[in-house]
Every structure is written in structure tokens, then in C-alpha cells.
């Protein structure tokens, strides 16, 4: 999170410089289908999905947001227990570093695996794994699955200050499906997202980089100001 906050500050500071050239262009987040293939390198030791159990390695359901060495019924290496106690949590960014070279992060891990060297393969694998984590699994832009460099949105768009009253009116279009109280069955919760995550996600739909047809349609006609207004409203709802 600290990283992301710093990143935000940086983008805001640079806004003036990039004003003229910053057409929105995203680095695509990983491809889930391709990630399924990459996972075959892991599946000898790790299970994931319905009914997954601990094997040689721990199961990987609900991985995102979990503390390292966080499953009670798996015997982790000392090295991992120390890392978990020291605050290591599995987020897209920590997984990315770990998967690139596991022993560099936890020297004593029992995971005898050289790592996934290719950056795209890693992104795909992470995208695949996060489909097995609870909410916000389907919201790649939200912590803990977010990666600061997942987007390259025009900083001016991120800097817009939304009008929450307008956002409240517009939110009526969202709450037909997304429950205002934050419930999450079949359709993800969108309340209390950090405003920036919200803005990034909606622009990704608007620009058709995220794949959902209903959301592409709804976001497609929201103006930058309207997206900012919605983010301001949903980001500050009282629980």
C-alpha cells in the first residue's frame, strides 16, 4: 500500500508534464487462461480450486491477502514462518517477486522450484491464482490483487475530484445489481473501494480492457467526471 500511495503522489506531481501525451494506455493484467497452463508447473505440489487440499505444498485457495505461512494445517518451513511473522502477505506484487526467484525471498523454503522467469508468464499465473481467492478476486484493481503498474491512466483523470452527491444519484444505476450494503453473491461488492481503484477499474471497462459486457456498456457512457463522482460516493459510504 505504501508503494501505491507513493505512486499516486508521483503521478499527481507529474500530471502537468504528461498532460498532452497521456492518452490512457494500460499494461494488460494477466491472462487467466494462459495462467492455467503456467500453473501446470506448480500442480505437482499445489492444488487450487474446488476441493483443493494441502499436498506437498499448501493449497492456494484464498491466497490473496493471506499472511505467508498463514494456513494452520500446513507445516511450513521455518523460513516461511519467520517471513509471515515479519508481516509478509501474499499480494500480486509480493507473489511476483517470490515467483521470479523463490529462494531470493525466503532462502530456506522447501519449495524446490527455480521460479518463473518470464514476466508475462508470472502475470498470467497470478491472474489465474487470484480467481481462486475470495472477493476481491474478480476485481484485479483492488488490493490485495492490485499492482501499481497495472494501469497507466491519464493522471489528470485520477486527479479529478468527484462530486459525491452526483455520485449518489448515479449509484442508482449500480445498485440494481451491486448491493449497496456490500453483499457479494454472484456480483462483486463495490462499496468502500479506494477511490483510485474504482476509477482505474471503471476506465478499464470503458476502454474495453476488462472484459465484462454489462460493465463495458455501463462504463462506456460514463464521463470522466461521472466516474470520479461514483468513486467519491462509493469510496466514502458509511458501513
Amino acid at each position: 500500500m505504501a508503494d501505491r500511495a507513493a505512486h499516486n503522489r508521483r503521478t499527481v506531481a507529474l500530471a502537468a508534464v504528461f498532460w498532452m501525451c497521456a492518452a490512457p494506455s494500460f499494461a494488460q493484467s494477466g491472462d487467466i487462461e494462459a495462467g492455467r497452463d503456467v500453473f501446470q508447473r506448480c500442480s505437482g505440489c499445489h492444488q487450487v480450486g474446488q476441493g483443493a487440499r494441502n499436498g506437498i505444498g499448501p493449497h492456494l485457495n484464498g491466497l490473496f491477502g493471506r499472511a505467508a505461512a498463514g494456513l494452520e494445517d500446513f507445516r511450513y518451513s521455518k523460513s516461511f514462518q519467520r517471513a509471515g511473522a515479519g508481516g509478509l502477505e501474499w499480494h500480486a506484487e509480493t507473489l511476483d517477486v517470490f515467483l521470479e526467484n523463490p529462494r531470493a525471498m525466503t532462502s530456506g523454503t522447501r519449495m524446490s522450484f527455480p521460479g518463473v522467469k518470464d514476466e508475462t508468464d508470472r502475470a498470467n499465473l497470478i491472474a489465474y491464482l487470484r480467481t481462486f481467492s475470495d472477493n476481491p478476486a474478480n476485481i484485479p484493481e483492488a488490493d490485495p490483487t492490485a499492482r501499481a503498474r497495472d494501469h497507466d491512466l491519464d493522471p489528470a483523470i485520477l486527479a479529478l475530484v468527484g462530486d459525491p452527491e452526483y455520485g449518489e444519484y448515479l449509484s442508482g444505476e449500480c445498485t440494481t445489481c451491486h448491493q449497496a450494503a456490500g453483499g457479494d453473491d454472484g456480483i462483486p461488492s463495490i462499496v468502500l473501494w479506494p477511490e483510485e481503484d474504482f476509477v482505474v477499474a471503471l476506465h478499464a471497462y470503458k476502454n474495453k480492457q476488462r472484459a465484462h459486457p454489462v460493465m463495458q456498456m455501463i462504463a462506456g457512457r460514463l464521463s470522466d467526471e461521472e466516474i470520479a463522482a461514483l468513486a467519491a460516493y462509493f469510496g466514502n459510504l458509511e458501513e
Binding site: Y169, T176, C177, H178, G183, V214, D224
Partner: protein
């Protein structure tokens, strides 16, 4: 890109503020009064939003005869065995606790000069703004041989609740290898994919319990909503079970004999075991009694859903004639929020924002085989006009179809909570 976005934003906010209507002073009585007739997808949403957003500044009364609202949406899934009748029934307690005065009675008349609504129970209630969302009634004589007195022999199940239970009981009692017939309605009618989702759910039930049974559809329409998707699904899941007779083969020339349980299609008499007659539809009768209909429906202004006939009467949902939106629960809910914003603005001077509408209709074809169609809409001076849309594709993967179904479950929880709290 050189336009200053902040300036632009300032302008658009100002434009929105400028839309705020002049405040109506409620004459003679304290808080301004809104009466909503019909506690369904449109009416319940409008009542809830006005009460919630006005924070007590507006007195909101909802007139609805039933204690439990059975949603037509997902009533087909009840027929298919995916939901219980209790799953689709919802009470009004939360709405009442949220500040809406819920009166269980029928509205039987509107006096537009005195601005009062009379109730079957004898009361007469004054309003500053009246919102009608009574759903549909059936056009007399549209299926020769059928009228409301025949709805037990040949249910419509197009208003959910006891009719849905009856149709399900008849489906379960069908003899082995029997025939389930449907008389499909002409356009426009509530829920364009509804009859065909129903056929899918009936087919699913029969495939499990009575696999040699047949389904016969007589249809006055040459084509129907999501036709390619349904036909593909029927071929995949229920091959040989379903016969669809369109107008080319006499599907529009039908009559029924409820006593004999026969369906006559273009002169050919079919003995059937269940006959689901879905007649032609019109606005719920109270809209006609209020004098705001023209023909079968109530024409409205797209910007706020006020009727062309009376600026203080609004019509939502199925009963309205608004333009391009299909008659669906999603549409009614969407229209209700635009209307609520406009009514509140008119009565209290709160900000009125530009109208935006959307709709998505999910249909279930077989277990985990869901499809959807949707669009966004805007208000033009003439009508609610379509902006953009999408539809599920034939040949989609099983995962996509399963996700679509799961999404519809989420939508159901979302919309019922949005309507009733």
C-alpha cells in the same frame, strides 16, 4: 486534450444544478405528499428512494394490495425447480421501517382536479405527486375462448404467486408423454424473453421427470427475444421436445376451449394436458382510470416519467409507453430512480440530475446455462432512446454461461434489496 478538465467539470456541475426544477409549495398541508400505487419493481423502488433521499421532507405513501410481492423475475426458475416459492416472495416490512407509509389496499380511482386517490377500503388520500406503477392487465378477448374466469384451467402465470404455483402443480401432474402448450403473447408485453425462458425451465423439469412429454408453442410473433440463443439451447439440451409454431404456420390464429382442454391452432385442434395462455397485455387498469392512457399504455416524458396527460402523475414500468426500453423489472427499477430524483427535486428543490436508464435481462436455459441481453438508454424529447447494447453469443463456453447464471443470482439479490430495502 487541451481542454481544461476542471473547467469542464465545473460547467457540467453547473448545468446539472440549473436543471433543478422550481420548488412546488405544498398547498394547505405540511410536508409535500407523494402517493405511489403498486409496490412492484417500479413502485417500491420509487417509494423507497424518495423516502430515503428526502430524509423525511416528503410524506410517501405506497398503496399495494398484497402483503407479499412475488417477483415475476425468477418465477420461471421456480417452475424449473431452481427456486422455491418462498425464495421469490418478499414482504414490505423493511420498506415501512425505512419511512414509507405502506397501505395494503387497492387504488380504485384518481380525481385529478381534487388531486386525490380513492381506495377500495373507502379512504381518499390527497397527493401533490402521484406515481403509478401498476404493472399489466390482460386485453379482453385477445385469445378467443379465454378470459380471467378460465385462469384456473389455463393459467397465465404472468403475475407471479398463486398463478405460478398453479402452473407448477399442473406441470407436475402431467401424464407421461403428455403435452404442455403455451400461447405466447403479441408485442409489446412484459419481459420479452420471459415466455421462452419459461419453455426452457418447463423443458428442464420434463427432461428430469417426464422425458417423453412434449412442448408446443403457438406464437403470433415471427421472431422473439434471444431467439438464436434459445434455439441453440433447446437443440443442445432438449432436442426433439419443443415445437414452435410461428405466424407462418398459423401461430397467430389460435383459440382455446378451457373445458375441453383443447388448443386450436389455425383450425387444427390439439388436445393438451397443460395450457399456459399468456394473453395480450395493457397497462394496469388504474392507469386507464386515472385517464393517463392512450390506447393500451400510458405515454410518458422520457426526462422524468411524467405522463403526457398530467404533469403531476407519473407512470413507471410495464404500464408506461416510453420508447425503446423493454418492459422488465430492471427497466422499471431504473425508471423509478430517475423519477424519484425528479419528483424530489420538484417538491423540495433538491438537485435534479439528467436521466440515465439501463436494462439487462438474464435468462436461464438449463442448469448453469445463462444468457443475457442489455442496453443503455437516454432521454430524448420524443422518447427513451437506446444508446448501446450487447447480447450473449451463441457457442459461448460453459464457464461463461455459468458465470452469467451466477451473475443473475447476484442481480436478483441486488434488485430486490434495491426495491424493498
Amino acid at each position: 486534450m487541451t481542454v481544461n478538465r476542471r473547467t469542464f467539470m465545473g460547467t457540467s456541475a453547473a448545468a446539472a444544478a440549473a436543471l433543478a426544477a422550481p420548488m412546488v409549495k405544498a398547498a394547505g398541508h405540511g410536508r409535500p405528499k407523494v402517493i405511489v400505487v403498486g409496490g412492484g419493481a417500479g413502485g417500491a423502488t420509487a417509494a423507497r428512494y424518495i423516502a430515503k433521499d428526502s430524509k423525511g421532507e416528503i410524506d410517501v405513501t405506497l398503496i399495494e394490495p398484497t402483503r407479499t410481492y412475488y417477483t415475476c423475475f425468477f418465477s420461471n426458475l421456480y417452475l424449473g425447480g431452481f427456486k422455491t416459492i418462498d425464495d421469490i416472495g418478499h414482504g414490505y416490512g423493511t420498506l415501512a421501517a425505512g419511512g414509507v407509509n405502506v397501505v395494503h389496499d387497492w387504488a380504485i380511482g384518481v380525481d385529478r382536479d381534487a388531486k386525490t386517490v380513492s381506495l377500495a377500503g373507502g379512504a381518499s388520500l390527497p397527493y401533490d405527486k402521484l406515481i403509478l406503477s401498476p404493472g399489466i392487465d390482460f386485453v379482453d378477448g385477445s385469445v378467443p375462448g379465454w378470459d380471467l374466469s378460465a385462469q384456473n384451467a389455463m393459467p397465465h402465470a404472468y403475475k407471479a404467486g398463486s398463478q405460478s404455483e398453479l402452473l407448477k402443480a399442473q406441470l407436475m401432474a402431467m401424464p407421461e408423454g403428455g403435452t404442455f402448450a403455451m400461447v405466447a403473447p403479441p408485442n409489446p408485453y412484459r419481459c420479452p424473453p420471459g415466455p421462452y425462458e419459461r419453455v426452457s425451465m418447463v423443458a428442464h423439469f420434463l427432461k428430469q421427470n417426464n422425458p417423453t412429454a412434449k412442448i408446443l408453442i403457438a406464437d403470433p410473433k415471427a421472431k422473439f427475444s434471444k431467439q438464436g440463443l434459445f434455439e441453440e439451447g433447446w437443440q443442445n439440451h432438449y432436442a426433439g421436445m419443443i415445437t414452435w409454431i410461428g405466424p407462418d404456420f398459423g401461430g397467430e390464429n389460435v383459440s382455446v376451449d378451457p373445458a375441453a382442454m383443447t388448443l386450436n391452432i389455425d383450425g387444427e385442434v390439439n388436445k393438451v394436458d397443460v395450457c399456459n395462455v399468456i394473453p395480450a397485455m395493457k397497462a394496469g387498469r388504474i392507469a386507464e382510470l386515472a385517464g393517463v392512457t392512450d390506447g393500451n399504455w400510458a405515454p410518458v416524458n422520457a426526462a422524468d416519467m411524467s405522463t403526457k396527460a398530467d404533469p403531476d402523475i407519473y407512470v413507471l414500468g410495464d404500464a408506461s409507453q416510453q420508447g425503446d426500453m423493454p418492459k422488465s423489472g430492471f427497466s422499471a427499477n431504473s425508471q423509478a430512480k430517475v423519477c424519484a430524483n425528479a419528483v424530489r427535486g420538484a417538491l423540495t428543490g433538491s438537485k435534479v440530475f439528467p436521466a440515465k436508464f439501463s436494462n439487462t435481462c438474464w435468462s436461464l436455459i438449463a442448469p448453469n446455462d445463462g444468457v443475457k441481453v442489455g442496453a443503455t438508454y437516454e432521454a430524448t424529447p420524443e422518447k427513451i432512446a437506446k444508446v448501446d447494447g450487447f447480447i450473449s453469443q451463441t457457442g459461448e463456453s460453459a464457464e461463461v454461461r455459468k458465470a452469467t447464471y451466477e451473475e443473475s443470482e447476484g442481480w436478483y439479490t441486488g434488485i430486490t434489496t434495491d426495491m424493498l430495502g
